[in-house]
Amino acid sequence: MSGFHRFSIVMRMVFMCILIIPVFAGLIGVLMPAFGFFPALGENQISLQPFSQLLANDNVLSMSWLSLSTGLIATLLALMGALLLVAVFYQRAWLNRIQHLLSPLLVVPHAAAAIAFLFILSPSGWLARLFSGSDMNNPLPPDWAFPYDPYGLSIILALTLKELPFVFLMLLSTLSQPQLEIKVKGYLKVAQSLGYSQITAFMTIVVPMIYSHIRMPLLAVLAFATANVEVPLILGPNDPPTLAVAVLRWFNHVDLSMRFQASAAAVLQLLVTLTALACWWLAEQVIRKLSRHALLSGKRTWGDDVLTLLAVAVVFVYSVIALLLLASVYTWSVATYWPFPQLLPDGFTLMHWQTALRSLAVPLANSIILAFSVTVFAVVLVLLALEGELQMTKHMSAAMGRLDRSIMHITLYLPLLVPGVAFLFGLVWFQQMYFSHLTWVHLFVSHLIYVLPYVFISLAVAYRRMDPRYVKVAYGLGKTPITVFFAVKLPMLFGPIAVAFALGLAISFSQYLPTLLSAGGNIATVTTEAVAAASGSSRRLSAVYVVVQIIMPLCGFILAWWLPNVFFKPSLKANPKNQGIKVYESNP
C-alpha cells in the first residue's frame, strides 16, 4: 500500500473522530451538571437536585409534549406529502418542474423560512390584511392565535414546509440510483400489465422497496424537528415554549445556577427525541403488519383521482406559500409607512437595505469566512476519507466490510440524531474550561460537525459509483496513487464536488444554535443577526436579513451548476439532465 493510501486511511479515522468525539464530549458535559456536578460553580456532589428542580416546573410536561407532537406531526406530514408527490408524478414531465420548485426551498435556512412565516402569519401580515375583514374604519388587526399559537401549529407548518422538499429530493435521488431505477421501472411495468394503476403500483410495490433507503435521513429529520431551536423560537408559543427553546433560555439565564436545571432539561430533550424515534419505529412495525393484507388484497386502484387531486393541491399550496413568503419578505424589505389593513405600503425605499447592509457587513464577512474555511476543510477531508474507505475495504472480508459500513453509517448520522441542544451546551462547557480564547476554533468545530455528514453523504455516491476501470487504466499508464487521485478522480468528480461544496456552504450559513453557543454571542453571523432581529426592533431590517439569507446559499448552488461547465468540459455542451440538486443520497 502506498504512503498516500495509508494517509487517506488515517484521514478517514480523523473524519470519524471529528464526528464522534465532540458529540460524546458534549453529552458528558451536559450529563455532569444535570446530575449536579459542576465544579466551576462549586458543586462537587452528584445529586438529582437539578431534575427535581426541573420537574417542579409545572410546564415541563406540556413543553415536552409540544416538542414531541410538533416534531412527529411535521415529519409525518412531510413524508406523506413527499410520497404523494413522487407516487403521482413519477415518470411524468411534472416531476422535473416540481423538483425545480422545491430545490431552492431546500437551501433556505430554517431561520429564514420561519421569519418569513412570521411575516405572513402575524396580525400585521398579508393574511390578516386580506382576510380579517378590517377596513379603514375599523383598522384593528385580528385577534387570532397565530403565529404564537399554543398548539404549535405555526411550528408544524414551517417545519413541514422546510422538510417536505428534503424528503422529496431524497426520494428522487434514491430512485435515481442506477440499479434501483432499472428495478423500479421494471416493477412498475409488470404491475401495470397486471392491471394495477401507476399510483397504486408505486404505493404498494415501490414505496416498501425504497423506504429502507430513506429511513436514516428520515429519522434525522424527525430528530431535528423535535429538537430544533430557531423555528419554535421564532414561531412558537412563549409560555410554555418547546423544550429546546426552554433549554436555551435557562442556559442563557443571568442566574448561573439555572444551568443545572437547563442541563437536566437537555437530558430530558434527549429522552423526548428518543421517544419520538421510538414512536416512529413502533409506527413502522404496526404499519408493516397491518399493510400486508391491504398490499396483497388485489385491489387495482386506490383512489387515484383523489390522490392526483391531492398532489396537485399540495403543489399549488406550495407554490402559493413560497411565492407569498418571498413577496412578503421582499415587500417588507423595501416598505415605507405601511398602515393596517392596506395591502401594499405607501411607498418603496432602499433605505432599509442601506442601513441593514451597513450593519450586516461584519456578520456577512464572518458568515462567509467561516463557511468557506469549514467547507474547504470538510470537502478535502471527505474526499480523503472516501479514498481511504476504498483502500481499506479492498482488503476486507465481506463481513468486515459490512461491519465497517454500519459503523460509518451510524457515525455519519450521530450528530444529526443527537439533538444539538443536548450536546452543544456540554461541548461549550468543555471549550470554555480548557480553550476559552480559541473562539473561532470552537465555531469552526461546531459547524464542521454539521457540515461533514452532509458533504460526505452528498459526495459518497458519486465517489463510489465512479467506474473503477478508469483508475485501472491510469495505473496501467504508470501513474502513482497520488497522481491518480488528483489528476483522474478529482477532475472526474468536479461536478459532485462543486455541489457538495455549495451544500457545505449552505449548511454552515444556516447554523444558528452552534454559532450562538460556540461563540458565546461574540461572533455574529447573518443567521444569528436575523433571528435576533426577528424578535425585536425592526421588521423591515429583519426582512432584509432574510433576503440576504436566501440569496447566500443560492449563489453557492448557482456557481456549483455553472462552474463544472466552465472547467473540465472542453467544448462540450452541458447536459441539463444531470444538474438537479443531488444533495442527498441515502445509504451512504
Binding site: A398, Y470, K472, V473, G478, P481, S571
Partner: protein
C-alpha cells in the same frame, strides 16, 4: 519483451477459480476464452496488480523475466485496454495522450516536441485534426483508436485487453482489431486478450487458452 505467467492461480474466497501458465513472446497475442463468471477479467486484475477482495492469487507474473507480482499496479508497466475506451472526459484528445507520456520523457523532449509527437501519433490514425476536441464528441471507432494510442504512449512492457472489441459493430470491429494487433506487433509488445468471440482469438494468431467453470 515478454510476459510470463507461472502457475498463476486465482482464488475466490480461497477457492480455486482458475490456474494459468503461459509464456507470451514479444509481438504475440494470447487469447483467454471461456464463459462469463469464470474469472477472466479477474485474471487480468491479478496480472496488472488490481486484485481486491474476495479474490486472491498465488504464482508468478513476469515481465521481461522479472517477477512483478509483489509490485504495486502503477510500477508494473502493464497497459490496460477495455471494451469501453475510458478516455478521460475532462481532458481533450491530445491531453489524454499527453497524460500517458511519462514525465521523464516529457522533460527530455520539451513541450513542443511532445506536442508534435502527439500530433504525429494522431496523424497515423487519421485523427490529427480533432486533437483539441472533447473526447465525448468522437465516434466509437475514433475513441477506440485514441485509447490504444494512450496505452502505447506510456511505453508499457505488456498489454492486457479485456473484450476490447465487443462494443464495436462488425465492420468496425474487424478493422479496429487488425489495426490494434498490427500496432502491438510493430512495437513487439506481448499481449493477453480476454474475449468471448472466437474470431477475435483466431485473428490474434496466437495461443488460445480455454478456461471453464
Amino acid at each position: 519483451m515478454s510476459l510470463t505467467l507461472d502457475a498463476l492461480a486465482i482464488y475466490k474466497n480461497n477457492h480455486l477459480m482458475l490456474q494459468v501458465s503461459t509464456h507470451i513472446a514479444a509481438g504475440m497475442v494470447t487469447s483467454v476464452m471461456g464463459p462469463s463468471g469464470v474469472g477472466k477479467s479477474t485474471l487480468l486484475d491479478a496480472i496488472s496488480g488490481q486484485l481486491s477482495r474476495p479474490f486472491s492469487m498465488t504464482g508468478q507474473v513476469m515481465v521481461n523475466g522479472h517477477a512483478v507480482q509483489d509490485m504495486p499496479a502503477y510500477q508494473r508497466q502493464i497497459g490496460m485496454l477495455y471494451q469501453d475506451p475510458l478516455l478521460f472526459e475532462h481532458l481533450t484528445v491530445s491531453d489524454n495522450i499527453r497524460f500517458a507520456i511519462p514525465k521523464m520523457q516529457q522533460k527530455r523532449l520539451g513541450r513542443e516536441q511532445v506536442e508534435s509527437f502527439i500530433a504525429e501519433q494522431l496523424n497515423t490514425v487519421g485523427l490529427a485534426d480533432i486533437r483539441h476536441r472533447a473526447v465525448q464528441t468522437l465516434s466509437g471507432g475514433q475513441q477506440a483508436r485514441v485509447a490504444l494510442l494512450r496505452t502505447l504512449a506510456a511505453n508499457p512492457q505488456a498489454v492486457l485487453l479485456d473484450e476490447p472489441f465487443s462494443k464495436l459493430d462488425s465492420t468496425l470491429r474487424q478493422q479496429t482489431r487488425e489495426w490494434v494487433f498490427a500496432q502491438l506487433q510493430e512495437r513487439s509488445l506481448p499481449a493477453l486478450m480476454v474475449t468471448h468471440d472466437i474470431e477475435d482469438a483466431n485473428s490474434a494468431n496466437g495461443e488460445i487458452i480455454e478456461v471453464s467453470l
